[in-house]
């Protein structure tokens, strides 16, 4: 009896003795992202996880270096000929992964692939980024002119991620294949294989104009669960992960095989206030809300010290930031006084909403601090889906305040945060629901309507002083992003959250 049972009992154990997979070869760099974008076609999605992959396979006209300054990429030089025309000189001798040379035709094709002149419906979700572009003209084989319908100061920002794709190749293989099996660019790595939701395997491209990257193989895995990503880091299955939250940093810092790299990023946190109705129709009440928040305590206790309080929503890294505008101090006493002056000596009940699940503790801390000065806050957490519904579809249902964080879609310009948050034009984002600051729309438009940067900077200073005074939101802080990196790899986090892995080197 026992004799036949024993082997059966051992079966599960036997299963477990299969040898584990090989450790990472030295010339391979493995990155884990939470997911893959729906396509490898760099123009047909607008997903951070896709952009991070695309930039290592495709070049744009401009590049941004680690100091976040523009650098030549496929364009060697550029200048504004007038308010609406930009000239770009193209790099010579650049080759696509399939061997075809880069031509001005490819550049024009890439733009028109997204703008689709003459078409009613645009298929690229990036159309909105460059909708100002009216025409792309080939002047000679190395020169193109980009013409916008009105002054478009964000053009260069948008062109830092605007991959140039091969016209002939796409016309041959079609959009579908290009986005899955036949993606071809001019970047440091070329596609080997994509297994959806598993891995994207890339191999270095010998003909890349910058030279060869340090790692021959680049593997981008999709690992949705953070705890699993961390375990992969500790066992060397993965060399790099991003968005490491504050509570996990000590563990990865002290592990013998990993280190962390943190850097301030564009993402700013704020609580948008509903200025259409009491109590936040009163300036003093909005200022009181700002004075009620101990931002330093939130940064230290809840963000692991990785944050910087901001005077407004304009991030220090963004063009137009004015460091002379100072943040609201933490002054609960004065907050109570202002609230009384605003007509609420006994405080007032308000509701605040948030759909930012990962920042729930911050939201709750803010709600408590508001309650402490008499803005008794009913804090409501939402799943992102229903929240969008609530905030934006049924106009004006969500009052009196909405917690938010905004990353500018990596555009290092004040416009990219001021317009969506505070401009009230009908096509706008949340500003149209909440914000009612006299003269603000006009100033935002003004800064948008010229490419004269010093003039824009002056206008943004004016705007920041205005919103610091009018306080259409509770201004909180900008956050950091943290990467965990294998000690075998040398790399540093970038302010634009890009994983530009050409800069990654093996550590000796």
């Amino acid at each position: 009896m026992k004799r036949w049972l024993t082997p059966l009992l051992l079966l599960p154990l036997l299963l477990a003795i299969v040898p584990a997979g090989d450790a990472q070869p030295k010339d391979t760099l493995t990155v884990a992202l939470v997911s893959h974008a729906p396509t490898l076609d760099p123009h047909m999605h607008f997903e951070r996880v896709g952009i991070l992959v695309n930039i290592n396979m495709f070049d744009s006209l401009l590049h941004r270096n680690t100091k976040l300054q523009y650098e030549p990429s496929l364009a060697t030089s550029w200048k504004a000929l007038n308010d609406t025309t930009w000239e770009f000189k193209l790099r010579k001798g650049v080759k696509f992964h399939n061997g075809d040379p880069l031509t001005a035709e490819d550049v024009k094709f890439s733009f028109e692939r997204v703008t689709e002149p003459g078409k009613e419906k645009k298929k690229s979700p990036q159309y909105g980024n460059i909708r100002a572009i009216k025409d792309v003209r080939i002047v000679d084989p190395e020169t193109i002119h980009v013409v916008t319908d009105k002054p478009f100061p964000l053009l260069l920002e948008r062109l830092v991620f605007f991959p140039i794709v091969p016209k002939k190749h796409i016309e041959k293989v079609g959009d579908e294949a290009f986005g899955t099996t036949a993606a071809v660019g001019t970047g440091p790595w070329k596609l080997v294989e994509w297994k959806r939701d598993q891995y994207i395997r890339l191999e270095s491209f010998d003909g890349h104009w910058r030279g060869k990257p340090a790692f021959k193989h680049l593997v981008i895995r999709a690992v949705p669960e953070v705890a699993t990503q961390i375990a992969e880091m500790k066992t060397g299955g993965v060399d790099l992960i991003r968005n490491v939250s504050a509570d996990l940093i000590p563990e990865l810092k002290s592990h013998p095989q990993t280190y962390v790299s943190s850097t301030p990023i564009l993402r700013v946190h704020y609580v948008e206030l509903d200025m259409r109705q009491p109590p936040f129709d009163k300036k003093l009440a909005r200022q009181a809300a700002n004075l009620a928040i101990d931002k330093q305590a939130i940064i230290q206790k809840l963000m692991g010290g990785l944050g910087q309080q901001t005077a407004t929503v304009v991030q220090p890294l963004a063009f137009g930031h004015d460091s002379e505008v100072t943040p609201f101090a933490y002054d609960p006493k004065k907050a109570k006084e202002l609230l009384a002056q605003a007509g609420f000596p006994n405080g007032v009940d308000i509701t605040a909403h948030s759909a930012f699940v990962e920042f729930r503790p911050v939201f709750e801390a803010v709600a408590q601090m508001l309650t402490d000065v008499g803005l008794r806050t009913n804090a409501r957490m939402w799943d992102p889906g229903p929240a969008w519904n609530k905030f934006f579809q049924t106009e004006g249902k969500a009052t009196n305040a909405a917690y938010g964080s905004w990353g500018n879609y990596s555009v290092f310009d004040a416009d990219a945060v001021l317009h969506p948050l505070f401009h009230t034009e009908p096509g706008g984002w949340i500003g149209k629901h909440y914000t009612r600051v006299e003269g603000l729309d006009k100033l935002i438009d003004e800064a948008r309507s010229t490419v004269d940067q010093p003039r824009r900077k002056r206008t943004y200073s004016q705007i920041q002083k205005l919103i610091r005074e009018e306080a259409p939101a509770i201004f909180l802080f900008t956050q950091y992003d943290t990467l965990a990196i294998s000690k075998k790899v040398e790399y540093a986090a970038r302010g634009d959250e890009w994983l530009w892995l050409f800069d990654a080197k093996p550590k000796k």
């Binding site: 299969v18 598993q198 229903p386 579809q393």
Partner: protein
């Protein structure tokens, strides 16, 4: 017999339609996918997209369209992937089925011998350890078990890869995780129904006839003890598929479960509907097979 099969088949269809209706209702109550697809877009662009996706029609019309298309295997295009949702689900089905089947097999391989042995040597060492483990196994959530197994086998002992689905080694941990979720229940069922059966007269008679002990257990006792086991196995299969949803996310397994989790996050209605529909189909089919097995195992049932 034919009437029986037909009746069960009708029930099968009703259940699948019911599941689809509930999924449909919950999904549409949960928000506007267009807002998630294009958060920064002006309202005008959204109206266009909503029309393209067929989201502007009244809900009953949307549901009718959904049922009509679903009947032909057409669940529409995924909002996110922009390819047919059904194909996405089918592409991932083998992975999930393999994981579920392996876990069920492993759970059985543990539950049967240990359960039988525990019932025969009631109160013995094996029985006591097994009963204790049952409580432990059942009280651990799959999510937690998975991470603990990763910590032990991958981080601590370096025996197995942490995640992925590209070698047999990477299949071990997800399978183990899922079977620790199912094995305890099966084990308990095997043990208790064996305990009920071994006391019965016909078993004693078989022994008295001089039939060898293991033949008594396997042929006489087990076949009768198997009825509740078969029922529970059928039900467990559904639970396993549910557990696979979490397990696949923890171990980065490219299965249907993970596809659905991602789709729910993105409010990708077609994919959620296609995925839930397929999983419901499988559960219902398994239960149908269980019903048939019943008839084989216990001819008395057929009469009703």
């Amino acid at each position: 017999m034919t009437a029986f099969v037909v009746r069960r088949l009708v029930r099968l269809v009703v259940v699948v339609i019911g599941v689809s209706l509930v999924t449909f209702a919950i999904l549409h109550a949960s928000g506007d996918p267009v807002a998630l697809i294009m958060p920064e877009a002006p309202e005008a662009d959204r109206v266009v997209l909503r029309a393209t996706l067929g989201l502007h029609d009244p809900l009953p019309i949307q549901f009718a369209r959904f049922v009509r298309n679903a009947a032909t295997g057409n669940f529409g295009n995924s909002f996110f992937h922009r390819t047919p949702a059904f194909a996405l689900v089918i592409e991932r089905m083998p992975t999930t089925l393999l994981l579920t089947a392996l876990s069920m097999a492993l759970a059985m391989a543990i539950a049967l011998p240990v359960g039988i042995y525990g019932a025969i040597r009631r109160g013995g060492a094996v029985d006591q350890v097994a009963t204790g483990t049952v409580f432990l196994g059942q009280s651990m959530p799959v999510f937690w078990t998975g991470i603990m197994l990763i910590l032990l086998f991958s981080v601590q002992w370096r025996m197995l890869p942490v995640s992925g689905w590209d070698s047999w080694a990477s299949i071990v941990l997800p399978t183990l995780t899922l079977s620790t979720f199912t094995a305890p229940l099966l084990l308990r069922i095997v043990r208790s129904s064996m305990l009920d059966v071994v006391k019965l007269d016909y078993v004693r008679t078989a022994r008295a006839k001089g039939v060898s002990e293991w033949l008594v257990i396997l042929r006489h006792a087990l076949k009768n003890a198997a009825l509740p086991l078969v029922t529970v196995t059928g039900l467990q299969f559904g639970l396993l598929l549910g557990g696979a949803v979490i397990t696949e996310t923890v171990f980065a397994v490219p299965g249907v479960g993970r596809l659905i989790v991602g789709a729910i996050r993105q409010l990708d209605f077609p994919v959620v509907q296609a995925g839930v529909f397929m999983l419901a189909m499988i559960v219902v089919t398994v239960n149908f097979v269980v019903d048939l097995l019943y008839v084989y195992l216990n001819p008395q049932i057929r009469v009703r």
